[in-house]
Structures are given as C-alpha cells and as structure tokens.
Symmetry: D2
Subunit: 297 residues, 4 copies
Amino acid sequence: MANSKYEYVKSFEQPDLLLPSTWIVVRIDGRGFHKLSDRYGFVKPNDRRALDLMNAAAAEVMKELPDLCIAYGVSDEYSFAFHPSCQLFERRSAKLVTTIVSTFTGYYIYLWSVYFPDMPLQPTGLPSFDGRAVMYPNSRLLRDYMSWRQVDCHINNLYNTTFWTMVLKGGMSNTDAEQELKGTISSDKNEILFKRFGINYNNEEEIYKKGSVIYRQYQLEDVKPKAESGKGQEEEEEEPTPVQGGIPSRSQQDKIRKLRRKAQVVIDHVDIIKDEFWERRPWIISGKPGKLPAESK
Amino acid sequence: MANSKYEYVKSFEQPDLLLPSTWIVVRIDGRGFHKLSDRYGFVKPNDRRALDLMNAAAAEVMKELPDLCIAYGVSDEYSFAFHPSCQLFERRSAKLVTTIVSTFTGYYIYLWSVYFPDMPLQPTGLPSFDGRAVMYPNSRLLRDYMSWRQVDCHINNLYNTTFWTMVLKGGMSNTDAEQELKGTISSDKNEILFKRFGINYNNEEEIYKKGSVIYRQYQLEDVKPKAESGKGQEEEEEEPTPVQGGIPSRSQQDKIRKLRRKAQVVIDHVDIIKDEFWERRPWIISGKPGKLPAESK
Amino acid sequence: MANSKYEYVKSFEQPDLLLPSTWIVVRIDGRGFHKLSDRYGFVKPNDRRALDLMNAAAAEVMKELPDLCIAYGVSDEYSFAFHPSCQLFERRSAKLVTTIVSTFTGYYIYLWSVYFPDMPLQPTGLPSFDGRAVMYPNSRLLRDYMSWRQVDCHINNLYNTTFWTMVLKGGMSNTDAEQELKGTISSDKNEILFKRFGINYNNEEEIYKKGSVIYRQYQLEDVKPKAESGKGQEEEEEEPTPVQGGIPSRSQQDKIRKLRRKAQVVIDHVDIIKDEFWERRPWIISGKPGKLPAESK
Amino acid sequence: MANSKYEYVKSFEQPDLLLPSTWIVVRIDGRGFHKLSDRYGFVKPNDRRALDLMNAAAAEVMKELPDLCIAYGVSDEYSFAFHPSCQLFERRSAKLVTTIVSTFTGYYIYLWSVYFPDMPLQPTGLPSFDGRAVMYPNSRLLRDYMSWRQVDCHINNLYNTTFWTMVLKGGMSNTDAEQELKGTISSDKNEILFKRFGINYNNEEEIYKKGSVIYRQYQLEDVKPKAESGKGQEEEEEEPTPVQGGIPSRSQQDKIRKLRRKAQVVIDHVDIIKDEFWERRPWIISGKPGKLPAESK
C-alpha cells in the first residue's frame, strides 16, 4: 500500500542474524518464579504439577517448531536448540527467541488449569518468561551446554532435597538448615538424607534428579561396544557434511521439516552427559531425520 | 552453589545492551493472524472484540512495566516505548523484548474468554506474537515512528473498510473488489463508500480509524495558542535535562517507577501525529511523571 | 566474474551498521606508546614534535574525510566525530574505523621524518594505532564526550608537569615524586610548581594544557551577550532539522562534501568545554557548512 | 587519576566480543587501489614490486601477532586468520581488526621505498586499507574461505592476463578486448593466450596464479597415501581437543605465543584448496606449534 513520509523510520531497525553453521540455543526462564511458587503453593522441593506443565508447554513448542532438535528443562527454565543448518526466520535472533517465548507462555497459561485444576490463575501477575539466544559453534559445545544444565539440575536438586527434608521432616528452621549445609559436598548431603531420614537419594524420581529432555523419536541406534566404537564415535562427533557450507536449499528445508513433523515428540528423564544418549539418537546432532519406529517392522 | 567444569559455556552468551539515552520501541506482531482470524471468525474489516482484547493485554503490559511511556496498537501489532533514561534490565535487548512479548501473550490467552466467551481457544496453534527492539535517538524520531504506525492504520483501515463493504454489502467477489481498488487514492475510496453505500468514512469508529494509544493519565496541560507557543514547543521537544547524561540513579529510578504506578493507564483513540496530543501530555516525552488528576483539586 | 562453489562463505559476514541520526566518534589510541616514547627518546612530560606529528596526521585524516566535523587529540590518542546525518560507507562501523586508523597510521609513518629528522624509524615495532567507534545520540552527549577528553588532558598534564618537574628539576626519584603526589589535588600541584620551581602552570603552553582541536574554518559567529543568549543557545543545542529523519539524499551529501573540502582545516588549542567554542562555530554541531572567510568581504 | 563528571560517556561504548571457539578472519582491502595503481604506474596485469610489498607488510603483521595462524593475499587484499582458541584482546572485534589494519598500513608505507625506490610516495592520498572481521565456526569453513579467495585469484588472474596480453601485445583497445572476453570460459582464455600469443598460462609465475600464503614453518608431516589416509584426514578435520571448551589459560596462551615467535614466517605460492597443504602443516588448523625444523636433526 501507499507509503508515508514517515516510513524512513524503518531504517532504524538493525539486522540481528545469528552466525550461520552454528548451534542456536534459546533459553527461557520464569520471571519471578520464586514469588509465584509461593503464591500458588508449589510443593517443596519439587512440584510435580509445575514441572509437568513446563514439559507440556515445551513439548508444544517442539511440535510447532520442527526446526528444533532438542530441548532440556529444569525447574522454571527450558533450553531449546536449533541445528547449525537451521534457516528459520533467516536466523534472526529476536524472531527466534520471541517466537519460542510467546509460544511457550501461551501454552503455559492455556494448560495451567489442566495441571492446577483447583488453583485458578489470578488476574494480575500472570506467569511470564524471558529468553535469550546463545550460539555454539560445534556439537561438542552444544553437548557441554546441555551437560552444564544437567549438572546444575543435579547440584540444585540434591541441595534442595536435603534442605527441605531437614526443614519439613526434621523440623529445622530455614536458617539452621542453610547454615548446616554451608560448605558441604555431595556425599555429606547424601549422608544427611540417608542417616537422619532413611532417604536414599538414588531412589528419588528421575524427573527431579535428571530434569527433562524432549526430542523427536526415531528408531534407536545400537551402541557399538567400546572396543570398536572409536570410529563410530568420531563420525558422530563430526559436523554434518556441509551442503553449501551447511545451508540447505529451501526445498530441502521444507522436506526435512515435513519429515520431522511426523516423528513423535517424547519427554524423557535420562542422562544426557554421557555419550550413550547421543550415540543412540544420532539424528539430534546430525539434524537428519532417522527412521520412524513404524518403518522398522 | 558449586560450579561444574561445563560452566565455561556461559562465556558464549554475548551482551546485547541497547545504546543509552535512546528511545527503545518494542514492536510485537501476531504470528499468522490472517489464518487465526479465519479460524475464529473475526468480523471483517474490524473485529471489535479482537481489538479490545489486544488493548486489554497491552494495558496489562503497561501496568506491569512502569518504565513504559506509551504504547500504540493497530490490528494485530502493538508498539511499546521505553524512555531514553530507562535502565530496566540494564537495557538488555532480549530481556526487554521477551518480557513484553511473554507478558502480552500471557494476558492475550488468559483474557481471551472474556472477549470471545462463545469461542474457546483450540488446543493447537494458540495465538502467539513475535517482537523486536528498535532504537530512536531523539523524540522527533519517536514521534515520527508513532506517526508512521498511525498513518499505516489510516491507510489500511480505509482500504479494508472499502474492500469489505464492496464485498459484504455490494456483493462483489474479492477479486473484483481488489481489482477496482487497484491504484485508487483516498478520495476515490471515500467516494465509493459514500456514493454507493451511503457511508461517510468520517463517521466510522475512532478505534478503527486512529488505532489505540495507551499512556498514563496525569492532569492535562493547557495548550498555548500558536502565537505564543513557539517557546513552549521548543522546550517540549528538547531532550530531558541529563542527570549524568540522562542516566538516573537507582533510587531516582525506583522513585519514578513508584510514581508511575500510581497513574491510571488509559486507552485512547486520538490523533498522535499532530503536536496537540504531545503538548497536552508532556510527561510522555519528558519521562517525568505529571500531576495526578486528584492532586489538581 | 564467475562465481565459485565456495562463494557461500560470504554469507558469514555480518552487517555492522551504526544507528542512523547518531553522532559517531572514532577514537584511536597509540599501541604501546609508553615503550615507543622511551625508544625514541620523547621529551618528558610533553614532546612537542610527537604532538605536532599526531596533529599533522589527524589534519590529513580530516582533509581526506570531509564527512568529519571535528577531531580532538591529546597525548597518543585522537577522537574523530562524524555528524548524525553522515552516510559514509552506509555507516558501516568497521569500514569507518579502519579507514580512519589506516589513514592516520599512514601519515604518521610518512611524516615521521619531518618531525623527527634525526631519529629514523626502526624497522621493527613500527608505531601503530587501534580504534573503535562509539555512538552518541545527541549533541549534548557529543560535547560531554569532548569535555571528558579535555578534562582528562588537563588532569593528566598537570600531574605529568608536576611529576617531571620534581624529577628533572628537583632531582627526586620517580618513586619519591609519585609518593608525594599521591592524594594531592590540583591546587597542591599548582603550589608545588610555583613555590618550589617558580613555575606558573597557567603559563604553560596551551597545546599541553588544552590538547588540540581540529575543525573546518568558516566565518566565526558573534557570541550574543549572555543576557540575550538564552534563546540562541537553545537553538544551537537543538538537533538539526531532519531531512527525512536527518538522512540527506546522495546528491545533498555530495554537495555538502564538496563545500566542506573548500574550508581550511585548522588546528587549535582552546577550551571546548564552555559554550563559546561551539556557539561561534555553529557549523560543527549543525553539520551545515558556514560562510567561508573569503566570502565575508 | 581523578574522574570527571563527564566520565559517564564511557558507558556508551558497546562490547564487540567475537564468539569464542570460532575462527576469526580479518580481511583488509586497499582503498582506491585502481586509481593508486595508475598514479604510481603499476605494471599490468601484475606488478611484482607491489605484490612483494603487500607480502612484506603481511609477513610483518604475522611476526607482530603470533596469534595469527595463516594469511593469504592476492592483489590489494590480504586475509589473516586467528585460531578459535585465540584470546587476543579478549577477542574484541574492533581491536583485532584495527591492530592488523594499522600494522599492515604502517609497514606498507615504511617499506614502500624498498620496493619502489624510484617512485617516492606523494604527500596526499597515501595508500590506505580498510578491514573487517568475519567468523567461521569450524575449520572446514575456514578452508572454504581460503579456497574462495584462491579460486578468485585464479579467475581474476586468468582474465587479467588474457585481457592485458590482448591489449599490450595484441594492440587491441580495452573495449574490444573486454567485448571479446565477455562470456568466455577458462579454456577459451587459455586458447587465446596460446594460439595468438604463444603463451602457456601454466608457465606463468606461481605468485600470480596462486596468490601468496604466509604461515609459520615447522617440520612438514608426511602425507599418508590416500588408501590409508581416511583416518588421518578425519583427525585433521576434527576441531582441536577443547581445553575448557577451547579456551586456553593465560599462561598456556603465553607459552604458545612464545613458541610461535620462534618459528620462521614463510611466504609461499602454492595450492591451498587441496588437502595436501593442510595435511603436511597440521599446526595451522590445530593451533599447536609443530616441531621446529632445527629440532628434526
């Protein structure tokens, strides 16, 4: 339509394209969730309903954006990873981040009543999330990022489990519990749980200890025994063969997107630090859809 | 808590601070709202419920973020402006944009049933919004940005009103109406509306013709008659006196934020291109809270 | 010419356009000049030859880039300012900065023998400079930037003058002089200079006390007496009337560039903190060439 | 020293850190060298003195910045590559680019008289260079970048050699030569050279056909015959084992820098597109200094 003399202001918009051939991680975080968890009486140290709601919202994001390879969530945060070959929105940073944040928030609000049927959202201070994009130049770094989040999950959960057990079951004040835990290492906390409360931390639920990982499900690959696996591993860690430097054509992108939509999106609570997770699911790093389980018959 | 050997991945996060002493406009846009408006049967050319819902969500954003000076909305887009002196989130771009996008989306979903009581949201493809931040170095440019959006509103609304009248009342096909309107100017469209359908475009509702502007309400200033106003205007267009180059201290910020929270957030449908709107509400450009209406007595 | 299959790597170049309608300051700094000044026996506290060489190189930069409005130098650093309306190299940051750094370095090396005829450059560790661009959204901030550099010049020169007088004339060791100056304020240093060495700091050369400012010379404007100058000052501080938001057309740019080339580039050692300097040379802030001195007759 | 009230302007400087673990290529280009080559009568199609001067300046840059792994030059441009593990200047983009541009320019001017003894530089319009940094996330992309430049060298040199032979030896006008070459492919140009002028393009000097590559010399590695080399190649293409994600400690950096300074900087005119060049010099991609030739005895 007709232009106006004011249209020059468009020139102030600055490009924000993320570097090609680089993993893009979008991490979102709940805003003020400490206060929010008090307001809606989230169970300590972990509220299963709240985590299931986070996972449900994240799974919807994965379904709406087939370009996403994997997501990992813990507490009120979630990280979503786009493949280096991803061309969605021309890799514009703000567009990628806001689309994820908005889609996630929408489902979080929409599905709230499913997970908190007796606790309606109050009309002010609705839950909200902020987000940011971070680039990782290769898959080793992406895996280290994911490991970082899962180690954090472990460290925080062991602390929180011990702290809240001391407070809720041990009758200690928050301050006393905090004081006693200061400077302790993992084995100390395990011992407190076991000796004082008969709790074996290993028996805690996996979702609390490992967080949640979401990905598309294809037929799992066999893991080669270590002796032979040298080569296999190397291949896996290699960057995918570049198509014009890893930039697939538009029609290739559409085809891959379509294939990805067909795969089931699954939520898992497993170790993503060791190689096994990635070796059995090579499609996550390669960005190439695997065989659908149905096809295996 | 304890660090892990993976923590180095944090160093890949890159700073994204917006330039100090510069207006920040965050514009959000509905994603795929063409399809969405079909799905939920939005009335053509304007669906009052949908616009009221946009305005309600935007008003909540303004209430939650007192640093915002003004917002302007049309169709499925909304622009929010932070003052040059704003220090919220250290002016980190992604944080500012995602907070607005997330808060807006949350309220849009949450309030949907209020405005569309008979049309529940469907569980896939929820409404979502993307967003971006644009910087404008002075208030003249901010006003030109706002004018750009309001001129766009006018141009689009006149076109849409004429087009849909020709189709819905005139029984024309979409293609025929489009064909006839090609190359027409405003007066042509006004004439089609008036001569064929007896519609005076000037009598259309202001919300459709002008869009919606949201701001905090203080006591309006008198507009000086033009003859004397030379100086007044100049003052108004000047950038605010710099406090350390326009960067207020933390306690000044808190004080201003508190004052802003007290003001009523109002939704208006008025001309924001001419000077009058801005002259009568100098607090928008100055960033300094005006007198509350109650105080005037 | 023909493209190769490797050409896709061009897509990794990221845009780096500086915000329109914003002052651009490119500051360059000598690399390792402390060591260099020892190597070539620069006179302490100020080496007139070295400063004259800096100024000569900066003046050549001003002549080669008519888009520059003003430059200010002190010690081994120089700041060059482009007007908000500048469109040179589409305002690409790297291009603007490297062009200035390269041109400056070239003249510094080329003219070295003129200022140090008995001290030829040695073939390793040639003098070199780094640089960066900083944006300032309005002329108040540009002036504050310039004031910052000139205040720094004053503070450093008073310190250095006192320190080297104590060492060179007073026979103190570097450590003792440093120790005695620790915690002193300006008046203390003035007193040391005057009482012990009979030196009145005010009589030191202006180039050392004020640094060097370079600009194009037009006919100076009369400064209105303060009583009346209120309005004049305001006008001066206003941003220039925007041409499409301050973005002149290509032919306007060429015309202005041509006019600027005609003006003489002068090197001055005067106060640039107070208003007078700017009021008498309004073309610096306005970006509009003034009247050439010749025209005044 | 004492701060001034103007110091707040420092906050307008924005960080420009390049992504960690990513190759950084700084490419510099002669400004207006077409005109410059006329002015100083550069020989067509290649002026050996001008190329030798470019190479000499680039070699000095390599010596002054041991963090550089490789450089490649053709015509009036030069590309310098920093390793992904490089931490020089905290990877600040402007600092890296301007240091290279300034050092290069300095040596170019300083050494001019060595290569053009009879052709002194004129005091206006000195040669100057602009520059930019581009990031490449892995070594495959770096090699594709280098291949891109070398293919460009070949394409341009074949064209220029043919064109200037037609003009200078064949007596054709520029326009006629240009016209005839329009649409020709490599074999056509080879044929023109051979059939009309008896010139076998393959016998042209390597520096013209291949450009110039500069690197540090260590003991060359044997190239494994292709049959066995599968694994070797893979290893070579792998990213180096990350030390904290490829970020070496400060003392590791210093140690590596020291080792690199010991290596001889050599200028070569060889194929850098095929694997051999890189396989025999694995230190370029690995960033780990090889064995010094002397050590091999």
